[in-house]
């Protein structure tokens, strides 16, 4: 495996930026190992959805990749630039929307870059607003812009649509799909939502007993729509591995 050849920049050309490689990751909370020798690969430019029951360690894995949690054992190779979108937007309420997006960028062209990113998530008209005046969907789009503006090689999404209403969620999913195609970064999406995984990901992986239990290739044409052909079979398989029959999940 090629290891620390960290590519300079992520472009839409796949295979240039190094991928993400997790080997033998162990993380304990008290006596229970939430991650127990976990291996995972996210090749550059690939979209991986991480499913699992609550408490299965999905978020712990994401937090480890984000550098917010330290595993006891194992190795992680990461591409140079990562960005995180959390479940709550987590904007600094005392900074205007564009200042939130620009936070941590070099000052010279920060506002222009922030505006560009906000335009991509269709929020440029709110760039001077205070975050607390945004709707849930707008705030989450600002959070997405804050991640995009960093031109990440790996985008970490921690249930970013879970707190949104159904319609807003559909629009956000479409937006993320579109941005991912345009930017070609690798992405790891933590979600409970099987349909969301099928809509967005190249691979769905299911976390079971601290390891990857199931790896499912989702080879559907894009852009995808809910319930398009081929969904049903994959959906059933994913639900089974999550321990649910399809009737229970309906």
């Amino acid at each position: 495996m090629s290891t620390s050849v960290q590519g300079s920049m992520s472009t839409s050309v796949q295979g240039v930026a190094p991928g993400t490689q997790v080997r033998g990751l162990i993380r304990r909370f008290g006596p229970t190992a939430v991650l127990d020798g976990l291996n995972l690969d996210i090749p550059a430019g690939h979209f991986v959805a991480l499913l699992g029951r609550s408490g299965s360690g999905k978020t712990t894995l994401l937090r480890t990749l984000a550098g917010l949690d330290t595993a006891e054992q194992g190795s992680v190779i990461l591409p140079p630039r990562r960005a995180v979108v959390f479940q709550e937007p987590r904007l600094m309420p005392w900074k205007r929307v564009w200042e939130n997006v620009a936070l941590g960028l070099p000052e010279s062209d920060a506002r222009d870059r922030a505006e560009q990113a906000l335009r991509e998530v269709e929020l440029a008209h709110r760039m001077d607003a205070w975050p607390l005046t945004l709707s849930g969907g707008e705030a989450q789009r600002a959070g997405l812009a804050r991640a995009l503006v960093r031109e990440p090689d790996l985008l970490l999404l921690d249930e970013p649509f879970a707190a949104l209403d159904a319609l807003t969620r559909l629009r956000m999913q479409a937006l993320v799909a579109e941005l991912w195609v345009r930017h070609g970064m690798a992405a790891l999406l933590v979600t409970h939502d099987v349909d969301e995984a099928l809509l967005l990901a190249d691979h769905a992986v299911v976390l079971q007993r601290g390891q990857i239990g199931l790896q499912l290739r989702i080879d559907l044409p894009r852009p995808r729509r809910h319930g398009s052909a081929g969904f049903a079979a994959l959906r059933a398989e994913l639900l089974r591995s999550l321990g649910l029959s399809e009737e229970e999940a309906a």
């Binding site: 917010l68 995180v84 005392w94 941590g104 005046t133 960093r150």
Partner: protein
């Protein structure tokens, strides 16, 4: 954003409905409505003053002990014309300003040191917590022995009293910064300095301003005590001097001046909050 609720007033002008809770937000409310509201709010005070004046006029209140409002006004006018009021007032203001400025600097420095490092907390917080339980006004005799009877003991008393609310609130604010936002700062790659500047300090600002409000209240209180003991100028001295000559009207003037100073400084902090915390919906919708 939805439009505020409007209805047409008899005169034909647009006016806000009385149930619209966003009055404070309005920059374009019709001034007449604001004026009426102001009169309404002043009504009780005016009523009390009129009743008081009437009672004095009828001889129901002993003029020696409780001078009539007009007599107090007369005394205030005399003090203004002689320049005495301005002199004592500026002395008092200067003492509070100096004491408060020192308290803000001291409280802020201590709170930053204790809030931003474990070592700082261990070194600073325990003595501060002990000292704050001390009734600091009891230190007056000691301060006079240490600092004499000049400006120093008075300013020191103000500083001592006002430092604690600044320290305690700012420290709590720094420690209360949302850990989720601190995490965000980490994922954005902010340095420790940038984290403090962009996340921790703005998060603590509302607490700091609350502390400042308490500090100002305590500063005036300390000044009253400080000026009534061994002072040769200041509003407190003016009142003590008046007591020796049984001039209750001048004492009343002093009380009114203190009240107005307290009110004015509170308004000042509110204005500061409105500007500094413009991002808070409460700061814009409330009053």
């Amino acid at each position: 954003m939805s439009e505020p609720v409007l209805h047409v007033a008899p005169g034909g002008a647009w006016r806000r409905a009385p149930w619209d809770l966003r009055r404070g937000f309005s920059r374009w409310a019709v001034p007449a409505a604001g004026l009426r509201r102001g009169l309404q709010r002043a009504g009780t005070t005016i009523g009390i003053l009129v009743a008081w004046q009437a009672a004095s006029g009828l001889g129901l209140l002993p003029a020696r002990a409780v001078p009539a409002p007009l007599a107090v006004l007369q005394a205030a006018r005399d003090l203004l014309l002689s320049g005495a009021l301005i002199h004592h007032l500026s002395v008092s203001l200067l003492r509070v300003a100096a004491g408060l400025a020192l308290a803000i600097v001291t409280g802020t420095v201590l709170a930053l040191a204790a809030g931003l490092s474990r070592l700082g907390e261990d070194l600073i917080d325990p003595p501060m917590q002990m000292a704050r339980t001390l009734p600091f006004l009891a230190l007056v005799p000691l301060f006079i022995l240490w600092f004499g009877i000049g400006e120093t003991p008075k300013v020191a008393l103000v500083t001592l009293g006002a430092t604690f609310p600044i320290y305690l609130n700012l420290f709590a604010g720094i420690r209360g910064a949302d850990p989720k936002l601190v995490e965000v700062a980490a994922t954005l790659g902010l340095s420790r300095g940038a984290l403090i500047r962009h996340v921790i300090l703005p998060a603590a600002l509302p607490n700091f301003l609350t502390g400042l409000r308490y500090a100002i209240g305590i500063a005036w209180l300390s000044l009253v005590v400080g000026e009534q003991i061994n002072a040769e100028s200041g509003i407190g001295y003016l009142m003590m001097d008046a007591r020796d000559f049984l001039r209750t009207d001048i004492i009343m003037v002093g009380l009114a001046v203190y009240a107005m100073l307290g009110l004015a400084s509170d308004q000042l902090v509110r204005a500061l909050e409105r500007t500094a915390l413009a991002w808070r919906p409460a700061a814009r919708f409330g009053r």
